[in-house]
Amino acid sequence: MGLFQYSYMQHALIGALVIGLAAPALGIYLVQRRLALIGDGVGHVALTGVGAGLLLNRSPVLVAVLVATAGAIAIEVVRARGRTSGDLALALLFYGGIAGGVLLVGLSDATSANLNAYLFGSLITTSRADVITIAVLGAAILVTMIALRPALFAVSHDEEYARVSGLPVRTLNLLIAVSTAVTVTIAMRAVGVLLISALMVVPVATAQQITRGFRSTMTAAMALGLFAAGSGIWVAATADTAPGASVVLVAIASFLVVAVAGGVWRKLRQRSTPVAASTAEPHEVVLGRS
């Protein structure tokens, strides 16, 4: 643990913990509306922002926030239209985003190491100012996702019902889109553009195997995200592995452990109460079938 006396490791740890907590809090809404891969898409678009930032000698993260937000809003608009071409439009945006990023980084003076830092994360080079940005924006995302849970749950669960309830559906959808862009860009420093979706989605996927409600899933996913971030950074520090990849692999390992343990537990429970399981549901009688 001696490594954590260095300030860069402390920065890395704080940044990762904030993202580990905030990413699943947002991700649960994305998973519920079947947009689990949207983080990936926005990440590709954010890369163009990074390239533009490097080329213009501006803060790459700041430019990436702006470009990713624009991209996320564009994706949301396409999704809301609900046309079949939406799928293709998203693909165009994703590939355009990553190609634009690679092109712009190439035009700038940056080296391929710079590009790698954004593709796969580079917590070690995270400065104090970066950590403050991550903490403030992460906290904002976290508070919004928790405070607006009833409304965001309603919109993600049943959008038409939310509309008939008079909820500002379009605003809430845009809020989720913008939050996705912000989360992706701050997480970019920690796990990298290519691995962000994992922190949004994997803890949720792990939690929902054992939880019964939305609220409990959200809480468990945040705890799992925090655990994956903390232990991933610890693994990276002690075994000298890539931090982003370590965090994501810990998250996926947790998923596998819970999946196997959950399966075994269900099997054991079934064996101990074989009758109760089969009589729990009332028999369906469909009227009108003659």
């Binding site: 947009l35 019902y161 009108g288």
Partner: protein, 253 residues
């Protein structure tokens, strides 16, 4: 005469240029229980979706509680029950969590739930007979129980008007009875109901008026049609299928 709760005047709806509703006019007044009947594809679901503003009218107008739909904001007065709960992305939600969504129209986005909200959710769960399943994930419920969850969600908002899209389609007998009794209580308290149905079943005694939609027009508006007499007509329209697996187009043309 009591005030109209819903007024549709010369409503026209088309999907991709194909007309689904042609010149439909319908008025529902406070305290009425109106059933919209019709074959699959007749436009009956489209009619209530147009009333709620979920599909746009290409001509005509909808008025809710004396206010044009475009300027209508008092959504807490309406409880909507969709045909079924979407599968979603598989994140679990308890029955209580789904029903609690029904309070949002009243409470708004920013205010956290209070005691009145919890009491209304409890009452709604009780009304549909699901109080003992409140903590269970909705995905583990039978189709009929899921339908009752959606009705409880609408009731939790304490609306004046219930709009239901095929609330009894493919629902087990126990749930149909529970639903009919919840509806009777709602009407007894002065509520207004507009529902789309394939067949009325145990709801028949509760219905005060029936509207039959046929090929996008209103073919009948008045007493609940007698099934036997209706079938005897030369150009009869099957308002209920003999078998759920039957292709609709076979009989409805």
């Amino acid at each position: 005469m009591s005030t109209p709760v819903i007024a549709v005047e010369h409503g026209v709806v088309g999907y991709d240029g194909r007309p689904v509703l042609r010149d439909v006019s319908l008025t529902v007044t406070a305290g009425e229980v109106v059933a919209i009947l019709g074959a699959n594809g007749s436009g009956k679901s489209t009619l209530i979706r147009a009333v709620l503003g979920l599909v746009p009218l290409s001509a005509g107008s909808v008025t809710l509680f004396d206010r044009p739909l475009r300027r209508f904001r008092q959504w807490a007065r309406i409880g909507y029950v969709p045909q079924r709960l979407g599968a979603g992305g598989g994140v679990p939600a308890t029955v209580r969590e789904v029903v609690a969504s029904g309070r949002l129209a009243r409470r708004g986005v920013l205010r956290p739930p209070g005691r009145a909200d919890r009491a209304a959710v409890d009452a709604a769960l009780l009304a549909v007979g699901l109080a003992d399943r409140a903590g269970d994930p909705v995905a583990t419920l039978s189709g009929g129980q899921q339908q009752r969850t959606l009705i409880a969600r609408a009731l939790a908002g304490q609306p004046e008007l219930l709009v239901l899209d095929e609330p009894t389609a493919g629902v087990d007998a126990a749930s149909q009875e529970a639903f009919a009794s919840a509806l009777r209580d709602f009407v007894a308290d002065g509520g207004t109901v507009l529902l789309v149905a394939h067949e009325l079943g145990p709801l028949r005694p509760v219905i005060s008026r029936a509207v039959v939609v046929h090929e996008g027009r209103i073919a009948h508006d008045g007493a609940v049609p007698d099934p036997a007499g209706h079938h005897a007509e030369p150009d009869h329209d099957h308002v209920h299928p003999h078998c759920y697996d039957e292709p609709a187009g076979l009989w409805s043309n």
